[in-house]
Protein backbone atom coordinates (compact mmCIF):
# COMPACT_ATOMS: atom_id res chain seq x y z
CA UNK A 1 0.00 0.00 0.00
CA UNK A 2 1.47 3.30 -1.00
CA UNK A 3 0.65 6.96 -1.04
CA UNK A 4 1.18 7.87 -4.67
CA UNK A 5 1.14 11.61 -4.08
CA UNK A 6 3.69 11.27 -1.33
CA UNK A 7 5.92 9.23 -3.52
CA UNK A 8 6.68 12.30 -5.54
CA UNK A 9 7.93 14.05 -2.45
CA UNK A 10 9.92 11.00 -1.49
CA UNK A 11 11.42 10.99 -4.95
CA UNK A 12 12.61 14.53 -4.48
CA UNK A 13 14.30 13.52 -1.29
CA UNK A 14 15.84 10.54 -2.99
CA UNK A 15 17.03 12.64 -5.89
CA UNK A 16 18.52 15.09 -3.42
CA UNK A 17 20.23 12.20 -1.70
CA UNK A 18 21.61 10.90 -4.98
CA UNK A 19 22.92 14.34 -5.83
CA UNK A 20 24.50 14.46 -2.43
CA UNK A 21 26.23 11.19 -3.09
CA UNK A 22 27.55 12.18 -6.48
CA UNK A 23 28.45 15.81 -5.99
CA UNK A 24 29.03 16.51 -2.32
CA UNK A 25 31.05 19.70 -2.35
CA UNK A 26 28.82 21.51 -4.83
CA UNK A 27 25.55 21.25 -2.92
CA UNK A 28 26.76 20.01 0.45
CA UNK A 29 25.13 21.88 3.29
CA UNK A 30 28.04 21.22 5.60
CA UNK A 31 28.08 24.85 6.64
CA UNK A 32 24.56 24.25 8.02
CA UNK A 33 25.70 21.28 10.07
CA UNK A 34 26.15 21.59 13.81
CA UNK A 35 29.50 22.90 14.95
CA UNK A 36 31.87 19.95 14.82
CA UNK A 37 32.57 18.12 18.02
CA UNK A 38 36.31 18.35 18.28
CA UNK A 39 37.44 14.84 19.10
CA UNK A 40 34.96 14.03 21.77
CA UNK A 41 33.92 17.55 22.71
CA UNK A 42 30.20 18.15 22.58
CA UNK A 43 28.75 21.30 21.00
CA UNK A 44 26.64 23.35 23.38
CA UNK A 45 23.85 25.83 22.74
CA UNK A 46 24.54 29.43 23.79
CA UNK A 47 22.40 28.78 26.89
CA UNK A 48 24.50 25.76 27.86
CA UNK A 49 22.46 22.70 26.84
CA UNK A 50 24.03 19.98 24.70
CA UNK A 51 23.33 21.00 21.09
CA UNK A 52 21.69 18.20 19.08
CA UNK A 53 20.28 20.49 16.40
CA UNK A 54 20.23 19.64 12.75
CA UNK A 55 18.33 17.34 10.42
CA UNK A 56 19.03 13.71 11.18
CA UNK A 57 17.99 10.50 9.49
CA UNK A 58 17.77 6.84 10.47
CA UNK A 59 18.46 5.89 6.80
CA UNK A 60 21.58 3.84 7.50
CA UNK A 61 19.59 1.06 9.16
CA UNK A 62 16.92 0.86 6.44
CA UNK A 63 16.24 -2.81 5.87
CA UNK A 64 17.72 -3.94 9.19
CA UNK A 65 15.07 -6.19 10.75
CA UNK A 66 13.48 -5.25 14.05
CA UNK A 67 13.91 -8.85 15.24
CA UNK A 68 17.17 -10.71 14.68
CA UNK A 69 16.98 -13.88 12.62
CA UNK A 70 17.18 -16.76 15.13
CA UNK A 71 20.21 -18.34 13.41
CA UNK A 72 22.33 -15.30 14.36
CA UNK A 73 21.82 -16.02 18.05
CA UNK A 74 23.31 -13.32 20.24
CA UNK A 75 25.41 -11.75 17.50
CA UNK A 76 24.46 -8.06 17.50
CA UNK A 77 27.19 -6.69 15.21
CA UNK A 78 28.37 -7.81 11.79
CA UNK A 79 32.09 -8.56 11.35
CA UNK A 80 34.31 -6.15 9.40
CA UNK A 81 34.31 -8.61 6.53
CA UNK A 82 30.51 -8.81 6.46
CA UNK A 83 30.28 -5.03 6.57
CA UNK A 84 32.64 -4.77 3.59
CA UNK A 85 30.34 -7.11 1.66
CA UNK A 86 27.32 -5.03 2.57
CA UNK A 87 29.17 -1.88 1.49
CA UNK A 88 29.67 -3.46 -1.94
CA UNK A 89 25.97 -4.25 -2.13
CA UNK A 90 25.08 -0.66 -1.26
CA UNK A 91 27.41 0.69 -3.95
CA UNK A 92 25.77 -1.60 -6.51
CA UNK A 93 22.33 -0.48 -5.43
CA UNK A 94 23.34 3.18 -5.72
CA UNK A 95 24.61 2.52 -9.24
CA UNK A 96 21.31 0.84 -10.14
CA UNK A 97 19.35 3.74 -8.74
CA UNK A 98 21.41 6.14 -10.85
CA UNK A 99 20.83 4.07 -13.98
CA UNK A 100 17.11 4.18 -13.37
CA UNK A 101 17.27 7.94 -12.98
CA UNK A 102 19.15 8.64 -16.17
CA UNK A 103 17.49 6.08 -18.44
CA UNK A 104 13.85 7.00 -18.81
CA UNK A 105 11.52 4.22 -19.82
CA UNK A 106 14.04 1.53 -18.95
CA UNK A 107 11.95 0.09 -16.18
CA UNK A 108 8.68 -1.63 -16.90
CA UNK A 109 5.90 -2.42 -14.47
CA UNK A 110 3.41 -0.52 -12.40
CA UNK A 111 5.40 -0.02 -9.21
CA UNK A 112 7.45 3.06 -8.51
CA UNK A 113 11.12 3.10 -9.48
CA UNK A 114 13.43 1.89 -6.74
CA UNK A 115 15.16 5.25 -6.42
CA UNK A 116 12.02 6.78 -4.95
CA UNK A 117 13.00 5.20 -1.69
CA UNK A 118 15.71 6.50 0.57
CA UNK A 119 18.92 4.48 0.88
CA UNK A 120 21.49 3.73 3.50
CA UNK A 121 24.74 5.57 2.77
CA UNK A 122 26.83 3.09 4.78
CA UNK A 123 26.00 -0.37 6.03
CA UNK A 124 24.17 -0.70 9.34
CA UNK A 125 26.50 -2.39 11.79
CA UNK A 126 23.69 -4.15 13.63
CA UNK A 127 21.96 -7.41 12.78
CA UNK A 128 18.70 -6.24 14.38
CA UNK A 129 17.17 -3.04 15.70
CA UNK A 130 16.32 -4.77 19.00
CA UNK A 131 19.53 -4.68 21.06
CA UNK A 132 18.20 -5.98 24.36
CA UNK A 133 17.31 -8.78 25.25
CA UNK A 134 20.57 -10.30 23.98
CA UNK A 135 18.77 -12.47 21.41
CA UNK A 136 17.69 -9.29 19.65
CA UNK A 137 14.05 -10.26 19.62
CA UNK A 138 10.91 -8.53 20.85
CA UNK A 139 9.70 -10.21 24.05
CA UNK A 140 6.60 -12.39 23.85
CA UNK A 141 3.17 -10.84 23.83
CA UNK A 142 0.95 -11.24 26.86
CA UNK A 143 -2.25 -13.23 26.17
CA UNK A 144 -4.40 -10.07 26.38
CA UNK A 145 -2.28 -8.42 23.68
CA UNK A 146 -2.61 -11.32 21.26
CA UNK A 147 -6.30 -10.59 20.76
CA UNK A 148 -5.68 -6.99 19.61
CA UNK A 149 -6.63 -6.37 16.03
CA UNK A 150 -3.91 -5.41 13.55
CA UNK A 151 -5.57 -3.52 10.68
CA UNK A 152 -5.57 -5.71 7.59
CA UNK A 153 -4.86 -2.85 5.26
CA UNK A 154 -1.52 -2.19 6.86
CA UNK A 155 0.79 -3.01 3.97
CA UNK A 156 -1.23 -5.90 2.58
CA UNK A 157 -1.48 -6.06 -1.20
CA UNK A 158 -5.05 -7.26 -1.10
CA UNK A 159 -6.45 -5.54 1.93
CA UNK A 160 -9.91 -5.76 3.32
CA UNK A 161 -11.32 -2.36 2.44
CA UNK A 162 -14.85 -2.22 3.84
CA UNK A 163 -14.01 1.01 5.63
CA UNK A 164 -11.09 3.30 6.35
CA UNK A 165 -10.97 1.58 9.71
CA UNK A 166 -9.59 -1.52 8.01
CA UNK A 167 -6.40 0.45 7.35
CA UNK A 168 -3.56 1.27 9.71
CA UNK A 169 -3.27 4.65 11.39
CA UNK A 170 -0.32 5.26 9.08
CA UNK A 171 -2.24 4.56 5.88
CA UNK A 172 -5.02 6.74 7.26
CA UNK A 173 -2.45 9.53 7.62
CA UNK A 174 -3.18 9.96 11.31
CA UNK A 175 0.15 8.98 12.87
CA UNK A 176 2.85 6.31 13.08
CA UNK A 177 3.28 6.77 16.83
CA UNK A 178 6.52 7.75 18.56
CA UNK A 179 8.68 4.75 17.69
CA UNK A 180 7.10 4.32 14.24
CA UNK A 181 8.07 7.91 13.44
CA UNK A 182 11.78 7.33 13.97
CA UNK A 183 12.39 3.65 13.15
CA UNK A 184 13.98 3.47 9.67
CA UNK A 185 11.58 2.79 6.79
CA UNK A 186 11.76 3.14 3.02
CA UNK A 187 11.62 6.95 3.02
CA UNK A 188 10.71 10.00 5.06
CA UNK A 189 13.13 9.24 7.90
CA UNK A 190 14.06 12.88 8.54
CA UNK A 191 14.18 14.17 12.12
CA UNK A 192 14.82 17.89 12.44
CA UNK A 193 15.79 18.94 15.96
CA UNK A 194 15.30 22.57 16.99
CA UNK A 195 16.12 23.60 20.56
CA UNK A 196 15.27 26.62 22.66
CA UNK A 197 15.93 27.36 26.31
CA UNK A 198 13.59 24.87 28.04
CA UNK A 199 12.50 22.96 24.93
CA UNK A 200 13.61 20.39 22.41
CA UNK A 201 11.45 19.98 19.33
CA UNK A 202 11.71 17.03 16.98
CA UNK A 203 10.03 17.59 13.62
CA UNK A 204 9.52 14.35 11.78
CA UNK A 205 8.95 14.36 8.06
CA UNK A 206 6.52 11.49 7.43
CA UNK A 207 2.98 12.38 8.56
CA UNK A 208 4.51 15.69 9.74
CA UNK A 209 4.83 15.15 13.47
CA UNK A 210 6.17 17.91 15.73
CA UNK A 211 7.14 16.66 19.16
CA UNK A 212 7.50 19.63 21.50
CA UNK A 213 9.41 18.28 24.50
CA UNK A 214 9.69 20.47 27.60
CA UNK A 215 13.09 20.06 29.30
CA UNK A 216 12.31 22.41 32.16
CA UNK A 217 11.43 19.84 34.81
CA UNK A 218 7.66 20.31 34.73
CA UNK A 219 5.51 17.30 35.67
CA UNK A 220 3.58 15.20 33.14
CA UNK A 221 0.15 16.33 32.01
CA UNK A 222 -2.88 14.77 33.66
CA UNK A 223 -3.27 11.07 32.79
CA UNK A 224 -6.77 11.98 31.58
CA UNK A 225 -5.21 13.71 28.56
CA UNK A 226 -4.38 10.85 26.22
CA UNK A 227 -2.89 11.17 22.76
CA UNK A 228 -1.33 9.22 19.88
CA UNK A 229 2.11 10.73 20.43
CA UNK A 230 1.85 10.77 24.22
CA UNK A 231 3.05 13.33 26.71
CA UNK A 232 6.82 13.81 26.49
CA UNK A 233 9.12 15.22 29.16
CA UNK A 234 12.86 15.55 28.67
CA UNK A 235 15.89 16.09 30.82
CA UNK A 236 19.64 16.07 30.31
CA UNK A 237 21.90 13.39 31.75
CA UNK A 238 25.36 14.69 30.93
CA UNK A 239 25.29 15.11 27.15
CA UNK A 240 22.35 12.76 26.69
CA UNK A 241 18.79 13.94 26.10
CA UNK A 242 16.46 11.58 27.96
CA UNK A 243 12.79 11.71 26.97
CA UNK A 244 10.07 9.92 28.89
CA UNK A 245 6.74 9.64 27.16
CA UNK A 246 3.48 8.44 28.73
CA UNK A 247 -0.28 9.18 28.44
CA UNK A 248 -0.66 7.24 25.21
CA UNK A 249 -3.99 6.23 23.75
CA UNK A 250 -3.99 2.45 23.74
CA UNK A 251 -4.62 0.10 20.83
CA UNK A 252 -3.55 2.40 18.00
CA UNK A 253 0.02 1.84 16.76
CA UNK A 254 2.64 -0.83 17.44
CA UNK A 255 6.40 -1.01 17.90
CA UNK A 256 7.57 -1.52 14.33
CA UNK A 257 8.32 0.53 11.24
CA UNK A 258 5.49 3.01 10.52
CA UNK A 259 3.79 1.99 13.78
CA UNK A 260 2.87 -1.47 12.48
CA UNK A 261 2.62 -4.69 14.43
CA UNK A 262 0.55 -5.46 17.51
CA UNK A 263 -0.80 -2.21 18.91
CA UNK A 264 0.58 -1.22 22.33
CA UNK A 265 -1.62 -0.32 25.31
CA UNK A 266 -2.37 2.83 27.28
CA UNK A 267 0.21 1.64 29.84
CA UNK A 268 3.07 2.13 27.38
CA UNK A 269 6.03 4.10 28.67
CA UNK A 270 8.88 5.00 26.34
CA UNK A 271 12.28 6.16 27.54
CA UNK A 272 14.40 7.52 24.70
CA UNK A 273 18.05 8.51 24.89
CA UNK A 274 19.70 10.75 22.30
CA UNK A 275 23.49 10.94 22.61
CA UNK A 276 25.82 12.65 20.16
CA UNK A 277 28.61 10.23 19.30
CA UNK A 278 30.28 12.35 16.63
CA UNK A 279 29.85 15.57 14.68
CA UNK A 280 27.30 13.93 12.41
CA UNK A 281 26.01 11.03 14.46
CA UNK A 282 23.57 10.53 17.32
CA UNK A 283 23.09 7.21 19.06
CA UNK A 284 19.35 6.67 19.51
CA UNK A 285 18.04 4.24 22.11
CA UNK A 286 14.51 3.57 23.25
CA UNK A 287 13.33 1.36 26.08
CA UNK A 288 9.83 0.07 25.48
CA UNK A 289 7.95 -0.80 28.63
CA UNK A 290 4.34 -1.86 28.22
CA UNK A 291 3.18 -4.14 31.04
CA UNK A 292 -0.13 -4.79 29.26
CA UNK A 293 1.50 -5.90 26.01
CA UNK A 294 4.95 -7.48 26.43
CA UNK A 295 6.17 -9.94 29.08
CA UNK A 296 9.24 -7.74 29.65
CA UNK A 297 10.64 -4.32 28.67
CA UNK A 298 13.08 -4.27 25.75
CA UNK A 299 15.41 -1.88 24.01
CA UNK A 300 15.82 -0.77 20.40
CA UNK A 301 18.81 1.29 19.21
CA UNK A 302 20.28 2.58 15.97
CA UNK A 303 22.31 5.57 14.74
CA UNK A 304 20.87 8.83 13.41
CA UNK A 305 23.17 10.63 11.01
CA UNK A 306 23.38 14.08 9.51
CA UNK A 307 23.92 13.98 5.74
CA UNK A 308 24.93 16.71 3.29
CA UNK A 309 21.91 18.16 1.53
CA UNK A 310 19.38 16.07 3.42
CA UNK A 311 16.33 18.02 4.57
CA UNK A 312 12.73 17.50 5.60
CA UNK A 313 9.96 18.20 3.10
CA UNK A 314 6.32 18.87 3.89
CA UNK A 315 4.53 15.56 4.04
CA UNK A 316 0.92 16.50 3.39
CA UNK A 317 -0.32 12.95 3.92
CA UNK A 318 -4.04 13.28 4.62
CA UNK A 319 -4.39 16.16 2.16
CA UNK A 320 -3.15 13.89 -0.65
CA UNK A 321 -4.46 10.53 0.53
CA UNK A 322 -5.70 9.35 -2.86
CA UNK A 323 -4.73 5.83 -1.83
CA UNK A 324 -7.63 5.78 0.62
CA UNK A 325 -10.13 7.01 -1.99
CA UNK A 326 -8.81 4.55 -4.53
CA UNK A 327 -8.73 1.56 -2.18
CA UNK A 328 -12.28 2.10 -0.97
CA UNK A 329 -13.78 3.02 -4.33
CA UNK A 330 -11.92 0.11 -5.97
CA UNK A 331 -13.32 -2.34 -3.44
CA UNK A 332 -16.87 -1.00 -3.97
CA UNK A 333 -16.44 -1.30 -7.76
CA UNK A 334 -15.32 -4.92 -7.42
CA UNK A 335 -18.35 -5.68 -5.26
CA UNK A 336 -20.66 -4.07 -7.78
CA UNK A 337 -19.13 -6.05 -10.60
CA UNK A 338 -19.45 -9.29 -8.62
CA UNK A 339 -23.10 -8.50 -7.81
CA UNK A 340 -23.87 -7.85 -11.49
CA UNK A 341 -22.15 -11.07 -12.54
CA UNK A 342 -24.17 -13.01 -9.94
CA UNK A 343 -27.41 -11.47 -11.26
CA UNK A 344 -26.63 -12.60 -14.82
CA UNK A 345 -26.27 -16.24 -13.78
Amino acid sequence: MRHPFLMSIASLVAVAAIFALTAEPAIGQTAKAAPAAKNGTQPKTPWGDPDLQGTWTSDDCIGTPLNRPANLGEKLYYTEEELAQRQTQLARQQENDRQETVTPGQRVGTGPPAHWGERARRPCKQTSLVVDPPNGRTPDLLPEAKTRRIPEGAGNNNPKADSWEDFSYYIRCITRGVTGSIFPVIYGNGQQIVQAPGYVTILQEMVHEARVIPVDGRPHASPNIRSYMGDARGHWEGNTLVVETTNFLGDRTGIAGNGGGTPTSDALKLTERYTRTGPNEIRYEVTIDDPKTFVAPFKVAFPLTQEPGYQNFEYACHEGNYAMFDSLSGARALEKRAAEAAKKK
Binding site: I9, L12, A16, K32, T45, P46, W47, Q53, D162, S163, W164, R172, C173, I174, T175, Q192, V194, Q195, A196, P197, G198, Y199, T201, L203, H208, E209, A210, V212, P214, R218, A221, I225, S227, Y228, M229, N312, F313, E314, A316, H318, E319, M324, F325, L328, S329, A331, R332, E335
Partner: protein, 270 residues
Protein backbone atom coordinates in the same frame (compact mmCIF):
# COMPACT_ATOMS: atom_id res chain seq x y z
CA UNK B 1 -18.21 40.35 32.86
CA UNK B 2 -18.11 37.39 30.53
CA UNK B 3 -14.87 35.90 29.29
CA UNK B 4 -15.79 36.73 25.73
CA UNK B 5 -16.50 40.35 26.57
CA UNK B 6 -13.28 40.70 28.44
CA UNK B 7 -11.42 39.06 25.59
CA UNK B 8 -13.06 41.39 23.12
CA UNK B 9 -12.22 44.46 25.14
CA UNK B 10 -8.63 43.31 25.54
CA UNK B 11 -8.39 42.64 21.81
CA UNK B 12 -10.00 45.94 20.84
CA UNK B 13 -7.75 47.84 23.19
CA UNK B 14 -4.74 46.04 21.80
CA UNK B 15 -5.80 46.82 18.25
CA UNK B 16 -6.36 50.47 19.08
CA UNK B 17 -2.88 50.61 20.57
CA UNK B 18 -1.49 48.80 17.59
CA UNK B 19 -3.18 51.00 15.01
CA UNK B 20 -2.28 54.23 16.73
CA UNK B 21 1.25 53.26 17.68
CA UNK B 22 2.32 52.02 14.30
CA UNK B 23 3.02 54.02 11.20
CA UNK B 24 0.73 52.89 8.40
CA UNK B 25 3.56 51.55 6.26
CA UNK B 26 4.59 49.34 9.18
CA UNK B 27 8.24 49.46 8.20
CA UNK B 28 9.49 51.27 11.26
CA UNK B 29 10.32 48.73 13.96
CA UNK B 30 7.47 48.70 16.44
CA UNK B 31 8.20 50.04 19.87
CA UNK B 32 9.43 47.29 22.15
CA UNK B 33 9.60 47.23 25.89
CA UNK B 34 13.01 46.44 27.29
CA UNK B 35 11.29 43.94 29.57
CA UNK B 36 11.06 41.23 26.95
CA UNK B 37 12.72 37.83 27.13
CA UNK B 38 15.91 37.72 25.14
CA UNK B 39 18.27 35.07 23.85
CA UNK B 40 21.90 35.02 25.06
CA UNK B 41 22.87 37.05 21.96
CA UNK B 42 20.29 39.73 22.80
CA UNK B 43 17.68 38.83 20.15
CA UNK B 44 14.07 38.70 21.37
CA UNK B 45 13.12 35.20 22.52
CA UNK B 46 9.68 34.24 21.15
CA UNK B 47 9.79 30.75 22.66
CA UNK B 48 6.52 29.87 24.31
CA UNK B 49 2.90 28.91 23.84
CA UNK B 50 0.86 31.60 22.05
CA UNK B 51 -2.71 32.02 20.93
CA UNK B 52 -4.81 34.65 19.18
CA UNK B 53 -8.07 35.76 20.73
CA UNK B 54 -10.89 37.19 18.72
CA UNK B 55 -12.82 35.75 15.82
CA UNK B 56 -10.54 36.21 12.80
CA UNK B 57 -10.75 32.54 11.92
CA UNK B 58 -14.48 33.06 11.31
CA UNK B 59 -13.91 36.10 9.11
CA UNK B 60 -10.81 38.27 8.94
CA UNK B 61 -13.08 41.22 8.09
CA UNK B 62 -15.40 43.04 10.51
CA UNK B 63 -18.47 40.88 11.04
CA UNK B 64 -21.63 40.67 13.10
CA UNK B 65 -22.93 37.52 14.81
CA UNK B 66 -24.63 34.99 12.56
CA UNK B 67 -26.36 31.63 12.93
CA UNK B 68 -24.37 28.50 12.30
CA UNK B 69 -24.98 26.09 9.40
CA UNK B 70 -26.42 23.24 11.52
CA UNK B 71 -29.45 23.73 13.75
CA UNK B 72 -28.36 20.78 15.92
CA UNK B 73 -25.38 22.76 17.17
CA UNK B 74 -27.63 25.52 18.46
CA UNK B 75 -25.81 28.49 19.93
CA UNK B 76 -22.54 26.54 20.06
CA UNK B 77 -22.29 26.52 16.27
CA UNK B 78 -23.10 30.19 15.75
CA UNK B 79 -20.58 32.72 14.55
CA UNK B 80 -19.65 35.37 17.10
CA UNK B 81 -19.29 39.00 16.07
CA UNK B 82 -15.84 40.43 15.90
CA UNK B 83 -13.54 43.19 14.77
CA UNK B 84 -11.65 42.26 11.65
CA UNK B 85 -7.88 42.13 11.40
CA UNK B 86 -7.68 43.53 7.85
CA UNK B 87 -6.25 47.04 7.93
CA UNK B 88 -8.74 49.40 6.32
CA UNK B 89 -11.45 46.74 6.59
CA UNK B 90 -11.63 45.52 3.00
CA UNK B 91 -9.65 42.93 1.05
CA UNK B 92 -8.84 44.48 -2.34
CA UNK B 93 -10.10 41.61 -4.50
CA UNK B 94 -10.37 41.93 -8.25
CA UNK B 95 -14.03 41.60 -9.34
CA UNK B 96 -13.51 37.97 -10.39
CA UNK B 97 -11.79 37.12 -7.11
CA UNK B 98 -14.55 38.85 -5.16
CA UNK B 99 -17.12 36.67 -6.92
CA UNK B 100 -15.08 33.58 -6.09
CA UNK B 101 -14.94 34.53 -2.41
CA UNK B 102 -18.75 34.80 -2.35
CA UNK B 103 -19.04 31.42 -4.01
CA UNK B 104 -16.59 29.95 -1.47
CA UNK B 105 -18.70 31.37 1.35
CA UNK B 106 -21.87 29.82 -0.11
CA UNK B 107 -20.17 26.41 -0.20
CA UNK B 108 -17.93 26.75 2.79
CA UNK B 109 -18.87 23.48 4.50
CA UNK B 110 -17.79 21.70 1.35
CA UNK B 111 -14.78 23.81 0.41
CA UNK B 112 -13.16 25.16 3.57
CA UNK B 113 -9.95 23.15 4.07
CA UNK B 114 -10.35 23.48 7.85
CA UNK B 115 -13.51 21.34 7.69
CA UNK B 116 -11.48 18.49 6.20
CA UNK B 117 -8.58 18.76 8.63
CA UNK B 118 -6.22 19.98 5.92
CA UNK B 119 -3.19 22.03 6.93
CA UNK B 120 -4.30 25.63 7.43
CA UNK B 121 -1.49 27.43 5.61
CA UNK B 122 -0.08 30.83 6.48
CA UNK B 123 -1.26 33.19 7.91
CA UNK B 124 -4.42 31.31 8.99
CA UNK B 125 -2.54 28.81 11.19
CA UNK B 126 -1.53 31.68 13.46
CA UNK B 127 -5.02 32.91 14.45
CA UNK B 128 -7.13 29.76 14.59
CA UNK B 129 -8.78 28.95 17.92
CA UNK B 130 -5.82 26.74 18.86
CA UNK B 131 -2.50 27.57 20.50
CA UNK B 132 0.85 27.27 18.79
CA UNK B 133 4.31 26.76 20.19
CA UNK B 134 7.33 28.74 19.07
CA UNK B 135 10.72 27.11 19.71
CA UNK B 136 13.46 29.63 18.97
CA UNK B 137 17.03 28.44 18.72
CA UNK B 138 20.17 30.44 18.09
CA UNK B 139 19.55 29.72 14.41
CA UNK B 140 16.22 28.52 13.08
CA UNK B 141 12.79 28.96 14.64
CA UNK B 142 10.19 26.18 14.77
CA UNK B 143 6.43 26.78 14.85
CA UNK B 144 4.30 23.85 15.98
CA UNK B 145 0.56 24.43 15.59
CA UNK B 146 -1.90 22.38 17.62
CA UNK B 147 -4.46 22.17 14.81
CA UNK B 148 -3.72 19.12 12.61
CA UNK B 149 -0.13 18.98 13.94
CA UNK B 150 0.72 21.52 11.23
CA UNK B 151 4.22 22.93 11.58
CA UNK B 152 6.96 24.89 9.87
CA UNK B 153 10.57 25.77 10.50
CA UNK B 154 11.63 29.32 9.71
CA UNK B 155 15.02 29.16 8.05
CA UNK B 156 17.13 31.99 9.47
CA UNK B 157 20.16 31.15 7.34
CA UNK B 158 20.76 31.88 3.67
CA UNK B 159 17.48 32.42 1.76
CA UNK B 160 16.21 29.12 0.45
CA UNK B 161 13.50 28.81 -2.15
CA UNK B 162 11.04 25.98 -1.62
CA UNK B 163 11.66 22.92 -3.79
CA UNK B 164 7.92 22.41 -4.22
CA UNK B 165 4.80 24.39 -3.35
CA UNK B 166 3.34 23.29 -0.03
CA UNK B 167 0.37 23.92 2.26
CA UNK B 168 2.50 25.69 4.87
CA UNK B 169 4.83 27.34 2.37
CA UNK B 170 8.54 27.99 2.69
CA UNK B 171 9.50 30.36 5.50
CA UNK B 172 12.71 32.39 5.39
CA UNK B 173 13.32 34.76 8.28
CA UNK B 174 15.56 37.61 9.24
CA UNK B 175 15.78 40.20 12.02
CA UNK B 176 14.99 43.89 11.61
CA UNK B 177 15.96 45.23 15.01
CA UNK B 178 13.72 43.41 17.49
CA UNK B 179 11.25 42.36 14.80
CA UNK B 180 11.28 38.87 13.32
CA UNK B 181 10.43 39.18 9.64
CA UNK B 182 9.31 35.99 7.90
CA UNK B 183 8.99 35.77 4.14
CA UNK B 184 6.53 33.04 3.16
CA UNK B 185 6.55 31.86 -0.43
CA UNK B 186 5.86 28.57 -2.16
CA UNK B 187 2.30 28.36 -0.83
CA UNK B 188 0.24 25.90 -2.84
CA UNK B 189 -2.83 28.13 -3.01
CA UNK B 190 -5.23 25.67 -1.39
CA UNK B 191 -5.49 27.54 1.90
CA UNK B 192 -8.12 30.01 2.99
CA UNK B 193 -7.75 32.91 5.39
CA UNK B 194 -10.89 32.09 7.37
CA UNK B 195 -14.22 30.26 7.36
CA UNK B 196 -15.74 32.95 5.16
CA UNK B 197 -14.13 31.92 1.91
CA UNK B 198 -11.38 34.53 1.81
CA UNK B 199 -8.72 32.82 -0.22
CA UNK B 200 -5.23 32.85 -1.66
CA UNK B 201 -3.57 31.30 -4.71
CA UNK B 202 -0.26 29.66 -5.51
CA UNK B 203 1.01 33.16 -6.36
CA UNK B 204 0.31 34.57 -2.92
CA UNK B 205 3.31 35.98 -1.09
CA UNK B 206 3.09 36.70 2.63
CA UNK B 207 5.56 38.73 4.69
CA UNK B 208 4.99 38.39 8.42
CA UNK B 209 6.34 40.63 11.17
CA UNK B 210 6.48 39.41 14.78
CA UNK B 211 7.33 41.95 17.50
CA UNK B 212 7.17 41.39 21.26
CA UNK B 213 5.15 44.29 22.71
CA UNK B 214 6.05 43.01 26.14
CA UNK B 215 6.92 39.61 27.59
CA UNK B 216 3.42 38.24 27.00
CA UNK B 217 2.21 39.82 23.75
CA UNK B 218 3.32 39.48 20.16
CA UNK B 219 2.22 42.21 17.79
CA UNK B 220 1.69 40.44 14.50
CA UNK B 221 1.39 41.92 11.05
CA UNK B 222 1.35 40.28 7.67
CA UNK B 223 1.45 41.88 4.24
CA UNK B 224 -0.24 39.85 1.55
CA UNK B 225 0.34 40.33 -2.13
CA UNK B 226 -0.93 38.47 -5.15
CA UNK B 227 -1.44 40.39 -8.38
CA UNK B 228 -3.67 37.62 -9.75
CA UNK B 229 -6.48 38.23 -7.23
CA UNK B 230 -5.80 41.46 -5.30
CA UNK B 231 -5.55 44.92 -6.82
CA UNK B 232 -2.89 45.97 -4.30
CA UNK B 233 -0.95 44.51 -1.36
CA UNK B 234 -2.96 44.49 1.88
CA UNK B 235 -2.23 43.97 5.50
CA UNK B 236 -3.58 42.17 8.52
CA UNK B 237 -2.58 42.87 12.10
CA UNK B 238 -3.48 41.20 15.35
CA UNK B 239 -2.04 40.18 18.70
CA UNK B 240 -0.92 36.81 20.04
CA UNK B 241 -1.21 36.27 23.78
CA UNK B 242 1.11 34.09 25.82
CA UNK B 243 -0.76 31.22 27.44
CA UNK B 244 -0.06 31.83 31.11
CA UNK B 245 -1.85 28.94 32.81
CA UNK B 246 0.53 27.04 35.05
CA UNK B 247 -0.02 23.78 33.16
CA UNK B 248 -0.48 25.21 29.65
CA UNK B 249 1.14 23.14 26.95
CA UNK B 250 0.65 22.27 23.33
CA UNK B 251 -1.83 19.43 23.06
CA UNK B 252 -2.59 17.05 20.23
CA UNK B 253 -5.43 17.70 17.78
CA UNK B 254 -5.06 15.04 15.12
CA UNK B 255 -8.35 15.71 13.41
CA UNK B 256 -8.11 13.24 10.52
CA UNK B 257 -10.02 10.68 12.57
CA UNK B 258 -12.80 13.23 13.06
CA UNK B 259 -13.36 13.78 9.34
CA UNK B 260 -13.04 10.34 7.75
CA UNK B 261 -16.80 9.65 7.86
CA UNK B 262 -17.36 13.04 6.23
CA UNK B 263 -14.74 12.51 3.51
CA UNK B 264 -14.97 8.77 2.80
CA UNK B 265 -18.42 7.93 4.20
CA UNK B 266 -20.04 7.31 0.79
CA UNK B 267 -17.30 4.77 -0.04
CA UNK B 268 -17.94 2.59 3.01
CA UNK B 269 -19.31 -0.93 2.41
CA UNK B 270 -23.08 -0.77 2.80
Amino acid sequence: MSYRWRARIVLSAALVVLFTAMPSNGQTPARTSSQIPRMPDGKPNFTGLWQALGTANWDIRDHGAQPGPFIQLGATGAMPAGQGIVEGGEIPYTPAASAKQKENLQNRMKLDPEVKCYMPGIPRANYMAFPFQIVESQRDIAFAYEYATANRVVNMGKFREGAVDTWMGTSNGHWEGDTLVVDVSGLNGNSWFDRSGNFQTENTHVVERFTLGDADHINYEATIEDKTIYTRPWKISTVFYRRKEKNAQLNEFKCVEFVEELIYGDLKKK
